[in-house]
Subunit: 357 residues, 2 copies
């Protein structure tokens, strides 16, 4: 017997690299534009003396702003330290059963990590060859369902009717829809929360609100699910969001015109970038997110393109697992200039790699 | 079968009230003084554009500052969203066993909540009648030990030799020493981390660094424990601390003279306040923290004093459980002026309550 026997062994999630210095960073789906100027203003106006006191225990300033913006009752909103915190709490709160939780085989690679750390049984459900969800695959007995829509790293969005069918036919399980990327396309399941007490919808301010550095996520659900989620949160950490993040989050959500402006710019750049990548011989499906999921031309492995770009200080994301996506690159949509630099690099890299092949 | 069967039922920790407006707030052990001016400066100098990027994944700016200040290797430091986040992660990471984790019956009331939420068996060990730890009580087989030193809400500090005996005799368990209040008195167990691979020492910036609103906690331990703790943290949320908290934490830790100034002021006010309370007939042991644990004069119940103070918009803390502390009030040390207002109120309240009794 040793204290070592009582330590929790887990294989953690590996986030994308965070290189510093002069690089083109298209690897962690950050926003290429700064947060709303209202965020800077809110932080500037915050009296530093206020930091001596605990933050709002109910995170009211932020949840009230979210309530007004989305037209959802405050009691149906939960906020946390990024959508990772919110999702982690949802896993802990909602998946206490013995039956496996279901999620796609190709999706956000944190889901299986949360399941492991909280000892939740799970089973992955293969997407179809075109990376789509088949709702009939989600009819098996289960202890919960998690679906990212739009999905990552594929970028594909499912129609709301597909999700509704899954929620409808699984009213004995909690269904979590992770809408981290919904502001870049895709239909939200938010209107369904009052119809299905088993539905939770999760969002983040890391992408479309340009605040990955602030760690703000939130969720919507029935009052019944919210009560459980809040009780679990208060059993882990009573004060998760600090005062600057509460103020910054509220300021960001109130500046709708800036939000529209940057998401539209990103969507425009994404569509142009997809055309260019297709022209360079990539296969690249439609994206409803702030990234593209692209397969280099036949015979040129994604891993080699990834490495060659990295040598040029351009960072994209390459997943070795699961195997069926190892041929793809996930490329965050940057500014027009960043994408042009990427394309220029690819125009140099691809012929060289083709010759080697 | 319903989704309700899969929900986690827990009884959460109840934090102290957070009244707003014009009140005297002596109920949640916040610092009566603002954070170091260097904190305000660091936040002012932060480029808001930086918030579009994820925070430092390794929290380097903060852990390097802590490393330099405490003379501990960076690899032996863990930082999180308040010491509650750090302690919660420690419970999850270190207490995977089947045997009960031990902690005192009178201590920080979050320990049993974490044990419940993570399904960790535990057993509370009675403090002696004077609220002291008897090291011989910690010789039973156990799956881990948690001791707050100085303890809350009693304010008592144990000598390092007492803790060392417990750590020494429990090398098959992880021992966590929660030093939230150590900067106000008491000996730190920090020098022992290189000697005992089973020891973790946890700190917070909420009290002595005057930043409850920023949510910054940290821990020291052997590399071996740190690796497990980091793996668990990366299995829950890769980016817990946001960019402002990393910068503010580093700035605070570098301003040692300000830290000395405010902790010395608080200690001075505490000692004077203790004398005044004794003069008013309270029994009030020595405190090594930023609060006093005081029992109103015989025949005047703590609950009634608590309510009478609240009517005068003076908030202190009263715990109904465990029963043996229901006769006490926990009074945070405020400014000299706040304490004078408290004493003036008590001088009015006590005779009135005595008449009623």
């Amino acid at each position: 017997m040793s204290f070592r026997d009582n330590l929790r062994k887990v294989t953690p999630y590996v986030p994308g690299e965070q290189p510093r210095g002069s690089v083109i960073k298209l690897n962690t789906n950050e926003c290429p534009y700064p947060p709303s100027p209202k965020v800077a203003e809110a932080l500037r106006n915050m009296d530093p003396e206020r930091l001596r006191l605990y933050p709002e225990v109910g995170i009211e300033t932020l949840t009230e702003a979210l309530s007004a913006y989305y037209g959802v009752k405050k009691e149906q909103i939960f906020a946390g330290v990024g959508s990772d915190d919110v999702l982690s709490m949802c896993f802990l709160a909602f998946f206490e059963g013995k039956k496996p939780v279901l999620f796609p085989d190709v999706t956000y690679s944190f889901y299986d990590v949360w399941a492991e750390v909280y000892r939740i049984p799970y089973r992955t459900v293969p997407l179809d060859p075109d990376f789509r969800i088949r709702p009939e695959d989600y009819l098996a007995e289960n202890g919960g369902i998690v679906i990212a829509n739009p999905n990552a790293p594929t970028g594909r969005a499912e129609e709301l009717s597909v999700l509704q069918e899954i929620i409808e036919k699984n009213q004995d399980s909690v269904v979590i829809i992770d809408e981290a990327y919904v502001d870049f396309g895709g239909e939200t399941a938010l209107p369904l929360i009052d119809r299905y007490p088993n539905l939770a919808v999760v969002r983040t301010m890391s992408k479309s609100r340009a605040m990955a550095g602030m760690r703000i996520g939130y969720a919507f659900a029935s009052r019944e699910l919210m009560e459980v989620l809040q009780a679990v949160k208060y059993s882990v950490n009573s004060y998760t969001m600090n005062t600057p993040s509460i103020l910054a989050g509220a300021a960001a959500i109130k500046d709708e015109s800036y939000f529209r402006e940057i998401t539209e710019k990103i969507i425009k750049t994404r569509e142009r970038s997809r055309d260019v990548l297709c022209g360079l011989g990539f296969s690249c499906g439609r994206s409803s997110t702030n990234f593209l999921f692209a397969k280099p031309p036949e015979g040129i492995g994604a891993a080699r393109v990834f490495e060659a770009l990295k040598e040029r200080r351009i960072y994209v994301r390459h997943f070795k697992k699961p195997e069926r996506i190892a041929d793809y690159l996930r490329i965050t949509v940057g500014t027009e200039e960043e994408m042009d630099a990427l394309f220029a690099a690819l125009r140099e890299i691809l012929p060289a790699l083709r010759e080697e092949a």
